[in-house]
């Protein structure tokens, strides 16, 4: 991918507040048509990074290119932002709010109204369009804010905890909308602590800690990099000791086997198949979850290392 194709390009960006280096020499890029995970523990510098991307605050050093250049007023109309801290005008009705925000993004009143009706129907909120924002439940508010951030169909969407406060049904609705926006070619940056959502939705991730990039690249590569040397098996028969296995633990009617260093899973599979009185029904390499990777990487701070899986 060349830089010209990037929806967002961040190069060597730093920001210091007094003596605290909130963001330190951060670089990454996001391409159109991808959902990009922006991860990090609390206070890692995610919000500061997002605010710099959105030109709310200026970086001390580095360069940020948004949709092909520096942020301009015209660029702002092509950006959608769902902040973590929700805030719509409580004394306005839902429809008034959406029309107001969409018009600020450059939509005509007529188009804004058509889009609002369509999106509200999609997120099952049209019946509430005349209610004041303060009368909406938390989940409704979350969906309303999502619609407000995306109904102008931006090319770059930044969503901070988009599923917060949503039940599984509403989570599915928002996911469907995000996938559709991605398929339309929008670049989506998703900041969340819900790792399972990142695993399901994101193609690439950036993990920052103490303002620095500690993990960056395709999610599949990163997971491979952190893959554990363990397998899970379901079988008929009993296991006692298996050559090449350092530790063996019963688990959910099967076993989890921790392999000795240098032993490959297929070697152990061959051994198991050859064992008398044992029939292998399932054999699966244990994938390390993003949750575990997150804890591993963030837990071994403040090492100055970075793992890049580009």
């Amino acid at each position: 991918m060349t830089h010209a194709e990037d929806a967002l390009e961040v190069e060597g960006v730093s920001k210091t507040y007094a003596t605290v280096r909130a963001v330190d020499d951060l670089s990454f890029s996001v391409a159109p048509g991808e959902i990009f995970g922006l991860l990090g523990p609390n206070g890692a510098g995610k919000t500061t990074s997002i605010r710099m991307m959105l030109d709310i605050i200026k970086p001390d050093a580095g360069r940020i290119s948004v949709l092909g250049g520096p942020m301009t007023e015209a660029t702002k109309a092509r950006i959608g932002y769902l902040p973590e801290e929700r805030g719509l005008y409580e004394d306005m009705t839902l429809l008034e709010t959406l029309l107001f925000l969409a018009q600020l993004k450059g939509l005509s009143r007529q188009t804004a109204r058509e889009r609002a009706e369509s999106y509200l129907n999609e997120v099952e909120l049209w019946d509430a369009h005349d209610l004041k924002i303060k009368a909406l439940s938390r989940g409704m508010n979350q969906k309303a804010q999502f619609v407000a951030a995306t109904m102008h169909e931006p090319d770059l969407i930044i969503v901070d905890e988009p599923f917060s406060g949503l039940d599984p049904v509403n989570t599915r609705i928002i996911k469907t909308l995000l996938y559709r926006m991605r398929d339309r070619g929008a670049a989506i940056i998703m900041s969340t602590h819900q790792m399972h959502q990142v695993e399901e939705m994101c193609q690439r991730i950036l993990l920052i800690d103490h303002g620095r990039r500690v993990l960056y690249g395709p999610l599949a590569d990163i997971r491979r990099q952190f893959a554990s040397n363990a397998v899970e098996v379901d079988l008929r028969g009993e296991l006692d000791q298996v050559p090449g296995v350092a530790h063996l633990a019963p688990r959910n009617g099967g076993y989890r086997l921790l392999l000795q260093d240098g032993v490959r899973p297929e070697q152990v599979l061959r051994t198991l198949v050859d064992l008398p009185d044992v029939t292998v029904e399932r054999f699966e390499r244990v994938a390390t979850s993003l949750d575990e990777i997150f804890i591993q990487v963030v837990g071994r701070r403040p090492a100055d290392e970075e793992t890049t899986a580009v």
Binding site: I56, I57, I79, P83, E85, R86, G87, D91, L104, Q145
Partner: protein
């Protein structure tokens, strides 16, 4: 410009629907109109009730000395007991007891169930005057009620200042405009800080600011609040106009009152940019404030500075062209009020008014720059309580 209008319209709509705004805007004119209508309603309550009198001097024929404009009928009684009995029967509202030594200076007493109001007292005084001079022609008696309106004409400029209604307009108009400015600044511009702080507190600003430049947001808010203040002043002006018209109905000649165009011109020239200056500064303070409560505290400091000339009115009047008065005329935050107060009492040199206007405009331009910087600093201080050191740091980091 479209975004500024969108922000202004949204600000206007939201604020105009608030019960606080509706109460402030409409309660005052309603009170004014009711107060103005009271004399008219009382006048329409029917002819004034008859009043009796007992003339101890035997020389004052009050009943025969009815002035051209009527007034209560006066009925003579031979003695106090007869007048008292008539009052008890409800035939008269009360009676005057004129003592025998009235000509030597003894006071007149009025006996009744209610204290005589202003109109009755005036009518009785006019009757007494006519009764004292029964052989004078009507024109002389009418002139005696209103011997002279003095018009002062300045020898050098030829400017004329009349007493009576014209003098009232000359003094009251600038002071009333100064008070209106003070109220509008407190209720409109002063609320800017709260509006910005609430925007921050409720986190709506973070989303809005990704759609427009900070200056557009601030400009839209200021414009919306200005339109709101204009609406408020407009409603008050209509209410005041109706109240004055009702109060003066039949009591004064409207042609005696002239519009003080010079005062109005300077009130607008100094008041409009002065209002924007307050609104901008309040917006900046609202951005720095950690929450709405703190924004109101900061706005009150601004209000104290703005209203300080009203507290020093005594000092200003004593030396209306003195150094303090001139300095406050040239200081942007006090210029509109002080200039108007001085215009009520003296001829303010034009150069001072022009200099005040220039000072306000320069301060306005400076505050546009400052508020832009404060805006970014405020975004860094999301949800934080105000501490001076933090503000300085945030301004530096912004």
């Amino acid at each position: 410009m479209r975004k500024i209008w969108l922000i202004a319209a949204a600000t206007y709509r939201r604020q105009a629907r608030s019960s606080r705004f509706l109460f402030l805007t409409f309660a005052l004119p309603v009170i004014m109109v009711i107060a103005g209508a009271v004399p008219l309603l009382r006048a329409q309550g029917g002819a004034a009730a008859a009043v009796g009198y007992v003339d101890g001097t035997g020389q004052l024929a009050l009943d025969a000395a009815a002035p051209a404009d009527g007034g209560p009928a006066l009925i003579a009684y031979a003695d106090l007991a007869a007048a008292h009995a008539a009052t008890a029967r409800g035939e008269i509202a009360g009676y005057l007891a004129i003592p025998a030594d009235y000509f030597e200076g003894a006071p007149v007493a009025y006996y009744g169930d209610e204290e005589p109001n202003f109109e009755l007292q005036a009518a009785l005084t006019a009757r007494m005057r006519r009764a004292l001079l029964p052989d004078r022609p009507d024109w002389a008696l009418a002139r005696l009620d209103d011997p002279s309106d003095v018009t002062y004409v300045a020898r050098d400029t030829g400017d004329a200042v009349a007493t009576g209604p014209a003098m009232v307009v000359r003094i009251v108009a600038p002071i009333a405009l100064a008070i209106v400015f003070a109220i509008v600044v407190m209720t409109g511009a002063g609320q800017m800080g709260s509006a910005m702080a609430l925007e921050k507190e409720r986190r709506s600003m973070e989303m809005i600011i990704t759609s427009l430049a900070p200056r557009e947001l601030v400009a839209g808010k200021v414009l919306g609040m200005t339109l709101l203040s204009a609406t408020q002043v407009g409603v008050w002006a209509v209410g005041a106009g109706i109240a004055i018209a009702l109060a003066l109905a039949g009591a004064a000649d409207p042609s005696a009152f002239s519009v003080p165009w010079n005062v109005l011109l300077w009130a607008v020239l100094l008041g409009a940019p002065g209002y924007f200056l307050y609104a901008l500064l309040a917006a900046g303070l609202g951005m720095i404030a950690g929450d709405n409560q703190q924004a109101q505290q900061l706005a009150s400091i601004l209000g104290v500075i703005g209203l300080s000339p009203l507290w020093f009115t005594g000092l200003l009047i004593n030396a209306i062209d003195g150094p303090l008065a001139v300095a406050l005329t040239l200081f942007p935050l006090t210029a509109p009020i002080v200039a108007l107060i001085r215009m009520a009492l003296t001829e303010v040199p034009t150069w001072q008014l022009v200099a005040a206007l220039v000072a306000i405009i320069l301060a306005l331009l400076g505050s546009v720059w400052l508020v832009g910087r404060v805006f970014r600093a405020g975004m860094l201080m999301y949800g934080q309580r105000l501490r001076p050191r933090q503000i300085v740091r945030a301004l530096r980091d912004a």
